[in-house]
């Protein structure tokens, strides 16, 4: 997790938020339970969609986030990764 930039971490966190671009972000209670497969699927779809529309967005942080998510092995590793990411939003 430490080799992931904060920008890429924010990209992952946004999949768990009520409103991803809010200035006062809150974790969505149902999204909180998202599995790794779901987040990865959503992230891959987003990268694909953004490539499709040929926008000028730098997709590297998105790809970096997907790469790290893929590397996580097993449910426990994923859960501990997500818990650490979301904890500062919950307290």
């Amino acid at each position: 997790m430490d080799n992931l930039t904060d920008e890429s971490k924010l990209i992952i966190v946004q999949f768990f938020l009520d409103d991803p671009t809010s200035e006062t972000p809150r974790i969505h209670s149902k999204k909180r339970e998202k599995r790794k497969g779901t987040v990865l699927k959503e992230l891959d779809t987003l990268i694909h969609d953004l490539e499709e529309i040929e926008t000028d967005i730098d997709l590297e942080p998105y790809k970096e986030a997907a790469k790290i998510l893929r590397k996580l092995r097993g449910k426990d590793e994923y859960m501990s990764f997500v818990d650490e990411l979301l904890q500062p939003y919950l307290s």
């Binding site: 924010l10 809010s22 200035e23 953004l50 499709e52 926008t55 000028d56 730098d58 904890q87 500062p88």
Partner: protein
């Protein structure tokens, strides 16, 4: 003879906003926004800002200015996935607009240990990153929902005016009355008596506008000691008028009689540019609060009055959506009917 050679000092041209954003130069962007505040001394730029906030009041002044600096015609922005959920798609080749989004993390020391405060709580830190959004004009698809009310279309219906007036009175932190006023003022907020008085017989639209103006004074300038003509008084008037403009515009009232000429002499009046940034934040926050609370009240009362659409109800049930309980009128609307002169077509 020695030829004197001059090396002309080359000035590096200032990078454009899109270059600064592309480079993710956060320091440069901050400077850009700081300098950009002077553009708001132009009343058209300022009015465009107010128009944006009246339609879309989710962000702070900093993000609103950032959005408008990238796309002055922007009106509603959302990230790619939200447009998709609204069954609208972003057009190919669209240039993203960037907003600041906060990222919270636990603070760590040089050794990588989490930093705690005196109570043993982990200290959090916030970093801001630019995150892409798109304006509604860059998308196409299903029509976006409109508010259930639009006063300009319905001002001939006295019921609409009464409902709106009562909703605004509910939002007021002090009692409101409509009375004859002996001087030339259309209304006032009295900090000593903690009350708002609106001149009787102003007509419906003007009554609402004056009430919105005084409501802002009653909320923001509660114990104001400012006297007519001093810089504080002028700044407070400017803030109240700006909020009244945003909320009036949001409610669909005619706003063509508002003007912000005062801005052109902002610095001559003894105000600093930083104070304009503060005022923008004050105006944006106050307007956002008023709009959100007014929307809640008005949506409730208008939906209550609106005939139920049985087809939509059935469709929602078929989709497994939960339907809200039937609403009943609350005590909130037990405010005396305002005394205004009708009809007032000349307004």
């Amino acid at each position: 003879m020695l030829e004197k050679s001059f090396v002309q000092e080359k000035k590096t041209p200032k990078p454009s906003l899109s270059e600064v954003i592309k480079k993710k130069d956060y320091k440069g962007l901050s400077e850009h926004l700081e300098e950009g505040i002077k553009d708001y001394l132009d009343s058209d730029t300022f009015q465009n800002y107010l128009d944006f906030v009246s339609k879309f009041h989710k962000y702070s002044q900093k993000n609103v200015r950032l959005i408008l600096a990238q796309k002055p015609t922007a009106r509603y922005v959302a990230e790619f996935q939200s447009w998709k959920k609204l069954e609208r798609h972003v057009r190919k080749g669209s240039k993203a607009i960037y907003v600041y989004a906060p990222y919270f993390k636990d603070k760590v020391d040089k050794e990588g240990n989490k930093v705690t405060d005196e109570n043993g709580e982990i200290v959090k830190e916030t970093r801001y990153f630019l995150t892409p959004v798109f304006d509604v004009s860059q998308t196409e698809g299903k029509e976006i929902p409109k508010p259930v009310y639009n006063l300009s279309e319905d001002m001939n219906d006295s019921k609409k005016f009464t409902q709106t007036y009562k909703a605004l009175v509910e939002l007021s932190p002090v009692p409101v009355s409509i009375q004859p006023i002996t001087n030339e003022a259309n209304g006032y907020y009295d900090p000593a008596k903690k009350e708002i008085v609106v001149r009787q017989g102003l007509g419906e639209i003007m009554t609402l506008k004056v009430l919105l103006h005084e409501l802002t004074h009653a909320t923001l300038h509660t114990d104001s000691q400012a006297f007519f003509g001093d810089p504080t008084y002028r700044r407070q008037e400017f803030e109240a008028e700006s909020v009244a403009y945003i909320v009036s515009n949001h409610l669909g009232l005619d706003t063509s009689d508002y003007s912000f000429g005062y801005l052109s002499s902002w610095t001559d009046q003894g105000n600093k540019l930083e104070e304009l940034t503060t005022s923008l934040e004050t105006i944006t926050t106050q307007a956002k609060g008023l709009i959100e609370r007014a929307d809640q009240l008005l949506n409730r009362v208008y939906t209550l009055d609106a005939p139920k659409n049985k087809f939509e109800e059935r469709l929602a049930r078929a989709r497994g959506q939960e339907l809200p309980e039937p609403r009943t009128p609350s005590k909130e609307y037990e405010v005396a009917d305002p005394k205004v002169h009708r009809p007032t077509k000349t307004l």
